[in-house]
Each structure stands twice: as structure tokens, then as C-alpha cells.
């Protein structure tokens, strides 16, 4: 993965599973279909003459607006997923994400209060999981989605062990 301007130097980023992109695209597809159905319904009603009173600009504008937004988001997805990275350093975990609004996060192992691993139905189908680190600060917000299940389990064990070894209270 190319190093971005705000990434610490000499960090070997690990990427999340490529399957995560497919998962994101699948959920994006579902979202697109539902949104377009809902926003396109009045247009269909208007065109078929059932609801002629519905203003034309709204009937066309709404679906087009959502279609453009969703298309844009869909185009961004591969890059967004590629921008997610993590690196286990000796004493802290690095997480990065974002293309336009980038964020590089450092969580010292000793500051972790607990580690969550969550698996949703879609994720289970893809064999993925979401890992979340919690420190005493709500701002940490260190979620890492799209890990392969066994990598997630390994990371969880690893992080817990490191956290315990360096436990530092609050």
C-alpha cells in the first residue's frame, strides 16, 4: 500500500481482506436498489398517470440526486477499502482509513480496555469480522472492519495479550 502524507514513516501496512470490498459492494448494491425503488416510485406513479399531481422536478430530481450520490459512493468504494490499513507495531497498533478525509490512529496496547469482535450475517457469509478496540476515550473509535475471521481472532488474542502485558490502568 502506498504511504500517504500523514502516515508514519517505515510502516508496513496490512490490508483488509479483498472480500471486504465485495461485501461493501453487495451492501452498497442493496442500498442502491432500495433507495432507487423508494425514490423512483413517485416517478413511476406520475408517468403512469396514477399520481399526476406530483411535481415533475421532484419526481425526476430526487431519484437522479440519489443515483448520482450512490454512483459516486460506489466508485469510491474500492479506493476506500484499499485505504484501510493496520499495522501492529511493537507497542502500539496503527489504523488508517479514508481517502479525502484521512485519519491515522495510534492506540498503545497498554491503553486498550477491551477488544470487540463482531460478526454480522453478511460478514459471516463472507467469512469476515469486525474488530473494535476500546480505550477509556470515546474519541478513539478504532474499528477495523473486513478482517478474515481467523485473522480477527488472532488479532484479538494478540491484542489482549499485549494489552495485558502492558496494562496501564487509565
Amino acid at each position: 500500500m502506498p504511504s500517504e502524507a500523514i502516515d508514519p514513516t517505515a510502516v508496513q501496512w496490512q490490508r483488509v481482506s479483498p472480500k471486504y470490498l465485495r461485501l461493501r459492494q453487495l451492501s452498497w448494491g442493496i442500498e442502491t436498489v432500495i433507495t432507487l425503488l423508494v425514490t423512483g416510485l413517485p416517478l413511476v406513479l406520475r408517468l403512469t398517470g396514477i399520481w399526476p399531481g406530483y411535481p415533475a422536478w421532484l419526481a425526476w430530481g430526487l431519484p437522479v440526486f440519489f443515483a448520482v450520490t450512490l454512483l459516486w459512493r460506489g466508485l469510491l468504494l474500492p479506493r476506500q477499502v484499499r485505504a484501510i490499513g493496520y499495522a501492529e507495531r511493537h507497542e502500539d497498533l496503527l489504523l488508517r482509513r479514508g481517502i479525502f478525509f484521512q485519519r491515522t490512529l495510534v492506540v498503545p496496547y497498554g491503553r486498550m480496555q477491551y477488544v470487540d469482535v463482531a460478526v454480522g450475517p453478511l460478514e459471516r457469509a463472507f467469512g469476515l469480522c469486525t474488530l473494535k478496540l476500546h480505550t477509556a476515550a470515546p474519541g478513539t473509535n478504532a474499528g477495523l472492519a473486513g478482517l478474515p475471521a481467523e485473522e480477527g481472532a488472532r488479532l484479538r488474542e494478540h491484542l489482549s495479550a499485549r494489552g495485558e502485558a502492558q496494562l496501564a490502568g487509565l
Binding site: 502524507a5 508514519p8 479525502f100 478525509f101 495510534v106 476515550a137
Partner: protein, 543 residues
């Protein structure tokens, strides 16, 4: 039905409470019997109001003023009596089933009538202890004790209400045990000293550091940001009147007036009679006009602090200090903002005096210069690193103030031109940190460094830094956060075995004298190897 369910359950705790035969077990105590009344007076008043109003209305609805007679009177009195009985019963049950026990390492509370709750909190996990006296409780000589741990929700242990001396005694015992002090020879003498003198203000071993006059509080409230808002509102109304040509109706003004009034009143009453003192139990802050509070924050429990100045305060040169304490959380109510205020309004000298308490080791050789530059300075004086010139158009006024300074023990983040603020977060209290960069910032090679602290009014952020500087800072700061924690104060701050004794025992309030010894303490080989601590080594390529 409720009573029946309660009685069934009542047997078990009843017997449990009634055999204090085992002398080893510390005794279970109950809160003061009047407590539910004091806590529930609002509900009672509401009930009385509704009942009374209904009655009165039904009386007056009839022709003239005939009072109910015969059966009508009987039934209404009966209903009232039953209602009172039910309320009294509920009060009694809730009182009876709330018990607490203080052992040498933990405090337990059992409560609840139908749903029983047993709670236990470790004493050395205490983040703060508040003794709060709402007005009514004050009249009865009662006080509420709040024991805060770091879950940032509601208080872990919440004893309402105790007699004030009892609350003081409890607080002293908790802090004594929580500090992990081995029964020092003077301990035996101390505890009774606390209890005996608890009615008064001064507790032995406590030294007052700061007291604000009523005039100061009033003036600070009048010059606060609320006034700016008020001026804006008045201007808005004036413009509206001028445009529409008709005077704004009084009715529309009432909520505005009421809102501002309550905002002013909240600031004033919570800041009134503000006094800060220090003892080996930590910092103690007392304040309040009608409702009073005495907060105790043990050493090392302050996670981050912000020194702020609202625009109008520049006339008088005052600053306020807010702190993050893990137990206090991030509520936005006026009460929680009052709890997290370490100094409502103080001169720079007073700010420095308070800083010396919370930050006994600022990690610079000249804290006065450093913090003064942080509070009111601009540019690179005192060693601050500021935004590069190219940040000018993003924040034309503030860019020379946006900056940071790293000392041996803390990071100072300065920003704001109209609303000056200086955020201080000790390295040992940094939970995690992040670099953030938006698209425009990327184009300009700027970045923000965000430091994550526990929930509270302070969220430190170094803004608009040169990207390379920020990246270097992230690396160094992560390192410092790790290493600093290792030589930090132990959780039981007076435990003889661990680390160096904290300062509060030997009172040395003046900032410079405080810091000279600690500076030498805090540069072991570890830190020298760990991080290039001085800012001189950070890139200054933006100049």
C-alpha cells in the same frame, strides 16, 4: 401488589441485615431516614399541587364556595390518606432496602425494592468523590456522597443522604484507604480529626489555595459568552423591529429572557463562593450558592485540562480552567459543566497556581513563561511550534496562535484568536492519538493531531500543523505516551512501596519552586533515549 412483592423479598435482606454477629464483617449502614423525603420532595409537591388543584377546582366549580360535606368529604380525605400512606410506604421501603458497607478495600451498596441491586466498587479505583448538598438537604443538615469511577456514566456509588459529618467521615475513610497509605503514625489521629471538625470548613492537613470573591464571580458571569449571545439576540430583535416597523411582542421575548436568566443564574450560583484547597487526598473544590458541592479529586486523576478565555474576558484578563476527570463524564447540563470547572474565572497568576496543583510536574524549567505564552502568546515565543504561513487563509487571525509545545510531561495545544484556549494533556494520560487530514489540508500539506482523552469538556487538538511536523509529533507523542505511563503515579497514590511520593504533603504552591525538583526527576535515561523531547529537533521547515 408492589408491597406484597417487596415483602416476599424483604425477608431475605431483613435477616441478612439483622445478623451482624460476625464482627469481622464491617457493619451495614443505612442512609438517613429523611432521605427519600428530601429526594422525592419534588414528586410530593407535584402530587400535592395536582390533588389540591383538582379539589379546589371542583369546589369552586360548584355555585359559590360550599365545602364538601358528608360522604364527599369522607371519600376525598380517605383517598388523600391512602395516597399519603402509599407514598410513605414506598419511601420507607426504599430507605429500608438501601444499605451500604465500607470495607478496607471496597464499598458496597445494596438497593432496590422489587429489583434488587448489589454494587461493589474498589476504593483504589476512585476517580473523584463529591459531597453535594442540594438546598433542601442543606436545611436538614444532610449531604449526598458520590463516588466516581472511570466509567463516565452516572456515579458508581451514590449515597443520598447522609448526615454531613457522616459524609465527611466516610469520604476521609475512603480516601485514606484508597490512597493505599500504610497506617502512618498520624493516621489514627487524622481520622477522628476529620470527623470531629467536619462541621466547619477547614479540615486539618488542608491548605486553601484560592478563593474567589462574589464580585469576581458576578463580573465573570456578566462578561461571559452568554452576554455575547445576549447582545446578539438584542441586536437581532432590534434589526427585526427596524425592518418590520413594529415592536417585537413581549410574549416572544419572555422565553429568551427566561433562558438567559437561567443561564446567568446557573453560572453564578455554581461558581459562587468558589474555594480550592489541597491536601494529601488531592484537590478539593467547594462552591455553590444554594446547592453546595465539595469535590475531591485525588492526585493523578485529572486526564486533561483546558485554559480558556471567552472574548469579553480579555478586558479583565481572566481565564477559566476545565478538566477531564474520568468519573465525571461529558454531560452537557449546567451541573456537569460546573463539576468539571476547576476555576470559574481567574487571573493568569491564579491559573498558574491551580496548574501547579493539577500538574505538579509541568516538565519545563520555566513554567510561568511557557504557560503565559500558551494562554495569551502568539508565534513561536517560549518554544511553541505554530502553523506554517500557508495556513493563513484558512484561519487568518488564529494561525499564529495555533500551535503546540511539548514539555517533558505534557503536550500543550494552543489555538483560538477570539476564544483563546490552551489544552494540556499529560503524556501519561494520552489514551490514543490520531492524525486527521481533509482534502484541502492535504493539498496544503497541513494536518491536525487529535489526542484522545476520557470523556469531558476537553478534547485536545493541535490544529493546522505542517504535515511533516504533525507526523513527527504523532510518532514522538505515541512514544511519550507509552514511556510516560511507566513512571507515573501509582493508582494508590500514597502507597509507600511504589514510585515517588507526590508533592501535596509538603505544600509548595508557587509554580517555579514546585517544578524545579520534578524537572530533574523526570528525565531518566528512558526519556532521553525514547524521544527527542525538545521541539528544537522538530522540523521547522515551514518558516
Amino acid at each position: 401488589m408492589t408491597a406484597g412483592a417487596a415483602r416476599e423479598q424483604g425477608e431475605e435482606p431483613g435477616t441478612g441485615g439483622l445478623d451482624p454477629v460476625e464482627q469481622k464483617e464491617p457493619e451495614w449502614k443505612r442512609v438517613h431516614p429523611v432521605s427519600p423525603l428530601v429526594r422525592g420532595w419534588l414528586a410530593l409537591a407535584a402530587l400535592a399541587y395536582v390533588a389540591g388543584r383538582n379539589q379546589a377546582e371542583s369546589w369552586f366549580a360548584g355555585d359559590g364556595m360550599d365545602l364538601p360535606t358528608g360522604s364527599a368529604l369522607f371519600w376525598s380525605v380517605l383517598a388523600l390518606g391512602i395516597a399519603l400512606l402509599v407514598v410513605a410506604g414506598a419511601f420507607f421501603l426504599s430507605w429500608w432496602f438501601t444499605r451500604y458497607q465500607l470495607s478496607s478495600d471496597s464499598i458496597r451498596v445494596h438497593s432496590g425494592v422489587v429489583v434488587r441491586r448489589q454494587r461493589q466498587a474498589r476504593l483504589d479505583r476512585v476517580q473523584a468523590i463529591d459531597i453535594v448538598q442540594p438546598l433542601l438537604a442543606r436545611i436538614f443538615g444532610l449531604a449526598e456522597l458520590r463516588f466516581e469511577v472511570a466509567d463516565a456514566g452516572e456515579s458508581a456509588v451514590h449515597l443520598a443522604f447522609l448526615r454531613l459529618p457522616e459524609a465527611h467521615r466516610l469520604r476521609a475513610r475512603i480516601l485514606e484507604d484508597a490512597s493505599g497509605a500504610e497506617a502512618a503514625p498520624d493516621d489514627a489521629a487524622r481520622s477522628p480529626g476529620h470527623s470531629g471538625d467536619s462541621g466547619g470548613d477547614a479540615v486539618p492537613g488542608e491548605r486553601e489555595v484560592l478563593a474567589l470573591s462574589a464580585g469576581r464571580v458576578i463580573a465573570s458571569v456578566l462578561l461571559s459568552g452568554t452576554t455575547l449571545l445576549l447582545l446578539l439576540a438584542v441586536a437581532g430583535v432590534a434589526v427585526l423591529t427596524a425592518v418590520t416597523g413594529e415592536a417585537a411582542s413581549i410574549a416572544a421575548m419572555v422565553p429568551i429572557i427566561f433562558g438567559f436568566g437561567s443561564a446567568y443564574w446557573g453560572l453564578f450560583s455554581s461558581g459562587f463562593n468558589f474555594r480550592a484547597s489541597v491536601s494529601r487526598e488531592g484537590i478539593r473544590i467547594r462552591s455553590g450558592l444554594l446547592d453546595t458541592r465539595a469535590q475531591t479529586v485525588p492526585p493523578g486523576r485529572i486526564q486533561a485540562l483546558a485554559i480558556r478565555q471567552s472574548p469579553l474576558w480579555r478586558i479583565t484578563g481572566w481565564y477559566s480552567i476545565s478538566v477531564n476527570v474520568a468519573g465525571y463524564g461529558a454531560g452537557s447540563s449546567s451541573e456537569s459543566s460546573a463539576r468539571t470547572r476547576l476555576l470559574p474565572a481567574g487571573t493568569p497568576e491564579e491559573v498558574l497556581r491551580m496548574l501547579a496543583l493539577v500538574l505538579p510536574d509541568p516538565g519545563t524549567s520555566d513554567p510561568v513563561t511557557t504557560f503565559t505564552a500558551g494562554m495569551s502568546g502568539t508565534g513561536t515565543d517560549a518554544g511553541f511550534t505554530v502553523s506554517p504561513r500557508r495556513a493563513l487563509w484558512r484561519s487568518p487571525l488564529a494561525w499564529r496562535r495555533s500551535g503546540f509545545l511539548v514539555t517533558d510531561t505534557a503536550l500543550l495545544a494552543r489555538r483560538g484568536y477570539f476564544r483563546r484556549s490552551l489544552e494540556v494533556i499529560p503524556h501519561s494520560r494520552t489514551q490514543s492519538l490520531a492524525l486527521e487530514q481533509g482534502p484541502l489540508q492535504r493539498w496544503q500539506r497541513l494536518a491536525d493531531l487529535v489526542l484522545h482523552s476520557t470523556p469531558g469538556p476537553v478534547s485536545p487538538r493541535v490544529v493546522e500543523m505542517d504535515a511533516d511536523t504533525a507526523r513527527a509529533l504523532l510518532d514522538e507523542q505515541a512514544l511519550r505516551a507509552r514511556t510516560a505511563r511507566r513512571r507515573d503515579l501509582p493508582e494508590q497514590w500514597l502507597r509507600p512501596a511504589g514510585g515517588p511520593q507526590p508533592a501535596p504533603d509538603e505544600p509548595a504552591p508557587a509554580v517555579p519552586s514546585h517544578t524545579v525538583p520534578s524537572h530533574t526527576v523526570s528525565e531518566p535515561a528512558e526519556s532521553a533515549s525514547a524521544a527527542p523531547v525538545s521541539q528544537e529537533e522538530l522540523p521547522h521547515d515551514h518558516r
